[in-house]
Symmetry: C2
DNA sequence: TTTAACACTGAACTTTTATTCAGTATTATA
DNA sequence: TATAATACTGAATAAAAGTTCAGTGTTAAA
């Protein structure tokens, strides 16, 4: 019962790796099963043996990416004492992570496609809710530690997510150092703004 | 020679309007000619009579969108005396006019997926550069009028664009008032930040 | 060794897609 | 009125896409 499980894991990973690269490069819709077949060397039927369908394959990649991000962040979070430090740390983490896994381009396309089965929509909504919850918690901690003076936590969770979302797009055209700098600057602005203090 | 020209203009506009809405909502690849046929009520052949092909239709929309944005903003800009006012005005304008920024989503997809002519790519790059130039000019004015104290104008132009870009994505799931509020809040943050002043 | 579960193939099937074109109706021109 | 140009139809075409499934070889269980 070992060699089979091992084989399954191996090909599932092979398919996932190829699909991730292709979705990243070409986008969701423009990546065909045939593309994945060519990239992996295995048959179309085999892909459907391991994944329910194209949508399921993509959602699998998103969720995998998500849990991976959570894991690495959890290991990093301890290093930052204050919430402000955490925000800069998160920005850096995102900047670096998204250079390696820029799946967001395809997921934007995927998300904005209206006609989806309810279970697919459910999984998508859970993903977005996860991001905002994460931000809310972070901001709440900053309030608790008296670092921020904000009332509208939910609103600012969206602002923060928007900032990171948009910045990711631009970072695709940047070098590593340039992207890091941009993310740091974004956090500067998020925390301190650009207007002159004396008003 | 009048009734025909008028008719052509009318149906061309009808097709463009429907296509714009669909591309915005569903993205480039996911919008089919059949979708546009259903939305307009005219035939597929008619679309190809007025536009060279799907790509040509999309490029037409991009160009039209660009000139339209410049025109409307130029008319509005006078109303806002300070640069800070201009920024809030721009945010409101973006929040309300949902035909502007949402198209960037489709154009990103279009730009990234298209393995097509380099002159098309060049035109898309010019568009992005145009936004950042616009932001840079706005920020420069704010510095000239002593409203801001920023050094890294180019960096902040990207931050501002990122904020608007990301916020637009969230605003698709919002009601009108909710979206307006979010854009206002975004500008608050951009200008004043969220950290406590006394530090 | 026999049986059953599993991993996989690849061609066939069904939809969907962009695009074309022969033909029709309407309008302008001579 | 006759002719040419224009605006449009809608069915046909052909390529590409996602998905399925009967069948094949391999591994685990009895």
């Amino acid at each position: 019962m070992n060699k089979k499980k091992q084989q399954t894991e191996q090909t599932k990973k092979k398919i996932a790796d190829a699909a991730r690269a292709l979705f990243t490069q070409k986008g969701y819709k423009a990546t065909s099963i045939e593309d994945i077949v060519k990239a992996t060397g295995c048959s179309a039927g085999n892909i459907y043996y391991h994944f329910k369908n194209k949508e399921g394959l993509f959602l699998y990649l998103l969720e995998e990416w998500n849990t991976e991000w959570d894991k690495t962040w959890l290991a990093k979070e301890m290093l930052y004492p204050t919430t402000i430090d955490k925000l800069y740390g998160m920005a850096e983490h995102l900047a670096l992570d998204q250079l390696n896994h820029p799946l967001t381009k395809a997921s934007d396309e995927f998300f904005n496609n209206s006609e989806k089965a309810p279970d697919v929509k459910e999984r998508m909504n859970e993903l977005v809710k996860g991001y905002l919850d994460f931000n809310r918690q972070l901001l709440q901690r900053g309030i608790d530690t008296n670092e921020f003076e904000i009332a509208n936590i939910s609103g600012l969770a969206i602002i923060l997510d928007s900032l990171m979302l948009g910045l990711n797009k631009h970072s695709l055209r940047m070098e590593r150092e340039e992207a890091l700098e941009a993310y740091r600057l974004a956090m500067d602005v998020f925390l301190y703004g650009i207007a002159k203090p004396a008003r």
